[in-house]
Each structure stands twice: as C-alpha cells, then as structure tokens.
Amino acid sequence: MSEESKIIKEFTSKEYEHGWSVNLEADEAPIGINDDIIKFISKKKEEPRWLLEWRLEAFQIFKKMEEPDWANLNYPKIDFQKIKYYSAPKQKKSPKSLNDVDPELIKTFNRLGISLNEQKKLTGVAVDAVIDSVSVATTFKDKLLELGIIFCSFSEAVKEHPKLVKKYLGTVIPRNDNYFSALNSAVFTDGSFCYIPKGIRCPMELSTYFRINAANTGQFERTLIIAEDSSYVSYLEGCTAPMRDENQLHAAVVEIFAAKNAEVKYSTVQNWYPGDENGKGGIYNFVTKRGICFGNNSKISWTQVETGSAVTWKYPSCILKGDNSVGEFYSVAVTNNYQQADTGSKMIHIGKNSKSKIISKGISAGFSQNSYRGQVKIMKRAKNSRNFSQCDSLLLGNKCGAHTFPYIDVENKSSLVEHEATTSKIGEDQIFYCLQRGIDEENAIALIVNGYAKEVLKQLPMEFSVEAQKLLSLTLEGSVG
C-alpha cells in the first residue's frame, strides 16, 4: 500500500504540457465590464445594431442575476470587473487566406499539434482556430462551401449570414438561461458557426481549437451548429491555455439545433490549464452546452473528455422535442491535484418514444473533487420514452472525493428509466493480475483506467480517441494506486 502512495506522489508531479505562452501583440479592451465595453466589442467586430442591443439586454439580465451556488464547487468569488473581455492578436488586416495569417500564430498552433496548413496531414479535419477572443483561421472553408456547408468564425457568420444567426442565436440557450449564459451573451467575442444544409452529410470532421493566450483575459466564445433536415455532422472541440498563476475565466455557450432526421455528434477534449500541484492558477470553466432535437428522429450526441481546468461547471444537455429523437452523453472527467469538476448532463424528454443514454466515468485523484450532476426528466407527453444512465466513479487515493447527484423525474406511466452508479477503486486483484503478467504498476493502472473509460473513448473520432487516451494516462500518470 505504501507503494500506492508513492505512485500517487509521482503522478501528481506531472506537468502540464501546454503551459507555455507566446508573445503575441494584442489588441485589447480595458479591464472590466460595462455598457461601453460591450459597445467596444460590438464595434470591434463591426456588428449590426440588433446584435449590440441583444448584447446590452443580456448584460441587463446578467446584472440582475446571482452567481449560482448549488454546484459542489469551492472557489473564491469571481470579480467580473477584473477581467479583460476582449483581446485579439494583432494582425495586419483580417486574413483573406491562410497565407495572410501571421506566421507567429501559425507557429503557435503548430506547437499545439494543430496544423493550419490544409496540405498537411489533417486532411480529414477542417479547423477553426480561436486565440483569446477571435478566430484566426478556418481551414477547408471553400471546399465545404461547395456542398453548401458553412463553417466559419462566428464574427464572419454575423457579417455573411446574419439571417441565420438572428434566427437561431439564443433559441436553444436563452440569454436568461443562467448566470454564465447571460454573461456570455453580453460579451462573447468569437467562436465557430456551422450550418449543414438539408440532406448533406458533412464529409469531414469539423473542429474548433480554442487557446487562451493573453493574461487576465476571459474567453467567451459562442458556437452555433445548425443541422437541417436529414443532415449529419461530427464536430470536435479542443482547448488549452498557458500556465499562469492567476485564475482565468472561460464561459462559453454552445447551441445545437437538429432538424428532422438530422444527426450531430459533438466531441470535446478539454485540456485547459488545471492549475499547479498546489492548486494555484488554472482556468475556471463555466460552460453552457445544449442541443435541441427539434425534429422527429433527430439525434444529438455529446462526448467529452475533461482533463483540464481548475474548476469545471458544465452540463451538455439535450432537449428531446422531436418524436423518436435520441440524446446521448458520454463523459470521462478526470480530476487531479486540487481540481474540481461538477459536470453531467440533462436529458429533457418531450417527444414520444424519445431515447437517451448517459454514460459518465469520473476519475478522481490527488485532493480533487469530482461530481456528476445530471437530470433525466420525462414529461407527460413523452410516452414510451427510455433513459439509461450509468455513472461510475473511480477513486485513486483517499484525499479526493467522488460525488453523484442524479435527479430523475418521471411523469408518465409508459416510460422506463434506469439509473446505475458505482464507486470503487482499482481492484488490487486487477493490479496483481497485470503485475503477474509482467506489466509494471504504472502501465497496469493506465491500462485499467483506459479500460474503465473505454465505453466513452470509443465514441470519439479515431484521432481524438488516441489523443484522449494519451491525455488520460498523462493526467493520471503515477497518480493512481
């Protein structure tokens, strides 16, 4: 057993890989939030009047709301006046093509393993790269446009496709949905926009890569995905941030709209800087993600691998409005050191024969606290609906905590809801079995943890899955016993 604690020690000393920052010359807003800052952002983005008003109203809503305190999270109160709401790497002019993108930026992304060069390796994936507040490059745009698929930065969408933006913005997640969605609605700066027309299967993975670079800056991106009738898209999201002593706020909003027979798969590998081994620094990650299965037979599937952030507050959800619609949530959340995660999903069944599945695997190590919080609600109308939830927690060491808070509300007699949860540690017999076959303890643990999370990892697209497995082993390396 002392072996165990030794390994836990080793593990917790593992360093964050993406903790460097670069000196990018930036165009910034002054610190703090007020109407003028919002006007400043809107002006920088050359937005239409309606959007500015929409933002200002959101700010009014935000001011009237209170920061939620129901999550199992413990962090000092955020001073919203000490955050910078806009920071954009200075570029000569907005780039017309990748050739115009600042080579320093391209280098930054190359260092993260994200190639913005279309000729290079990531041929199966189109990338929208967002640094701090703005999107700096989107690849394969033209090729996608041939199919009628719009994939661009949110700012660009506001300019080029204002009707679509106006029609869908805030419909899945209204401004007053919660404290952080209100804040995001007021100050969001960029993000990705994606529109798949009727009957089109998007031929490649679409992906957004988020990077916080500037100090004292919050990132408030906004993503909107619209899948028209019988379309399909798989979307990936990745994120990292430099190591900084102070906490940085990330409050994103992702809205997904799925029309009749449409299918959207949204995968996240969240690797924001988690703070150091003493819990200093790290990203506060307050994210609202929700999709609506609006049409009959539509499907939205969330997959997330959460390894980063000091504090995570995130509940990707599905509103299953269409009959026979399907919602899925697959999650692996790993916390180590002093990280805290309160994450899970909501499945709101409105349509008949709607089905949902929640598979959540929590892994806590170090001094971390890891909570699953979820809701399954079967409304009266949702006859013959089904839900299956499985929430497992794995504890590594006895200084961390694992918590499960599922809410199950059923309002009709023809539906079936099943929920299971277990908490355990890695079996000593499992480790001994591996050791007896010549596998050392660290590898044994990595093997067992990856096996434990496999049901979720296999949902990820190939390249992401390999990445996620590595990340999982890395985050936990040495920390398990």
């Binding site: 079996g427 000593e428 017999d429 499992q430 001994f432 079995y433 591996c434 050791l435 007896q436 076959r437 010549g438 596998i439 050392d440 303890e441 590898n443 093997l447 067992i448 990856n450 096996g451 434990y452 999370a453 496999k454 049901e455």
Partner: protein, 244 residues
C-alpha cells in the same frame, strides 16, 4: 530452478505456511496436493509475489537468486507464470492488448526486440490452436463474461504466449468438465520442454491423469508431509488424506 527453504508465510497474522521446503529442477513437473485450507493456493500466490501474504522467514530462490523482495512483475519477467484459480476480470481492456503489453515487457527484459503487430498476430495464431481458444474471445475484455472453461483456457493461452520458465497452475482443473480438462491438459503438455518446469496445484487426482507429474507432494497444515511419484496421487485418491 526453484528452491524454497523453510518458508513461513502468514496472512493477517495467521500462519499459513509453516516451514515449507521445495526443490524444482529444470524440466520437472511437480504436483502439490492437499486438503482444503492446507496452504496450496497460498504457496502459489507467494511464489508469484502477492503482497497480501507476508513472508515471516525462509527464502524463495529462482535460478539461484533470492526473490523474497521481488515485485510480482519482476518475477513475471524472470519467467514465473501463475495460472490463476480465479482469473480476474478487467473491463474495457482487450485480451489481445493486454497480452501484447505483457509480452513486450517480458521481451524487453530479455533484451529482445518488441514484436510488431504482424509478428504478434502470427505468434498468437499458432498458440491459439494449442488451447482451441476463439479469436473473438481474445478481442473481448479480459475474462469479462467468460465462462469458467474459457477463463482457464485463456490462462493457458497466456502461458503459451509468454513462454515462462516456471508455470504454476493453481487449481486449473476446478470448474472444468472433462472435455475442457483434456484441452487444457493437452495445451500444458505441448508446452512442456526439457527446460521448463511446472507446478500443478490440485485438490483432485483427476488432472494428474492428463498432466503426468514427476513428483507428488502432499501439503497438510502448511507443511509438505509426504513426497513421492505419481503413484502417491493414486493412493491419495483411494485413501484420502486422513491416513497421513
């Protein structure tokens, strides 16, 4: 190969092995028999290095090296293999991936190059026949949802893959019907060489009809009370353990 001297072992302050001696040379098959609770499985676990058991005194040497303080994986790399009485299930970890990780670690220890995917698959195909194990089974999570017989065959298959110097079969016959028993024994026999040794831990004589031992030892209350050749096993079958 293996030399155990005056071994005393306890678990939670209960002395289980009370001064046990055992010598095994290259190429030999030794059967350890004894009634329930005599310490047979403890012996198997202790040789493999399970740290739930505490060695109070005495020594276990493997090729002349005292391995009392060696970790289970070090012993495995040196060539000790334990076929578990109750093979452990590890959800989500495919058997193939598991064996590949183990095999390459052992190869690395023996200063051999790791096997690539093709090399591994070829070796695997050959060994699969030995124990008539299904390819599909190997793609599934280790032992998860396997029947009793499948688990035991999987153990022998892993033994075939890892080519240990000393194999310990802990009650491998328990829970097997006669056909499965034949398949498993056949596998074990085919893997016998003049260099490899085997310890067969069993409660019943039945298994020894198929895996013929060179020596039979009777373990009662933590000590070997009688040793002999295979006839001793038959005698035990007829008379039970009480006459000893």
């Amino acid at each position: 190969m293996l030399s155990i001297k005056k071994l005393k072992v306890s678990i939670e302050n209960n002395l289980i092995l009370k001064g046990l001696n055992l010598e095994i040379k290259n190429g030999e098959v030794h059967a350890i028999m004894g009634p329930n609770g005599s310490g047979k499985s403890t012996l198997a676990s202790v040789i493999a290095g399970n740290d739930n058991y505490k060695i109070e005194s005495g020594s276990i040497s493997f090729f002349g090296k005292n391995i009392n303080n060696f970790s289970p994986d070090e012993r495995a790399m040196m060539g000790i293999f334990l076929a578990f009485q109750y093979p452990v299930e590890i959800p989500g970890v495919s058997t193939i991936n598991f064996i590949k990780t183990a095999l390459n670690r052992i190869r690395e220890f023996n200063k051999k190059k790791p096997l690539d995917a093709v090399g591994f698959l070829n070796t695997m195909k050959k060994k699969m026949n030995l124990v008539k194990i299904d390819r599909d089974l190997l793609s599934r999570s280790i032992n998860e949802g396997f029947s009793g017989g499948e688990k035991k065959r999987n153990e022998i298959f892993q033994m075939a893959m890892l080519e240990p110097k000393l194999s310990i079969l802990d009650e491998t016959d328990s829970g097997l019907d006669i056909d499965a028993l034949k398949i498993v024994s056949n596998g074990v026999n085919k893997l016998r060489t003049k260099d490899n040794s085997t310890i067969v831990v069993t409660h019943y004589q039945r298994l020894l009809d198929y895996i013929i031992p060179d020596y039979v030892h009777v373990l009662i209350d933590g000590k070997i009370v009688k040793s002999g050749n295979k006839d001793l096993a038959l005698e035990l079958e007829n008379k039970g353990y009480d006459w000893l």
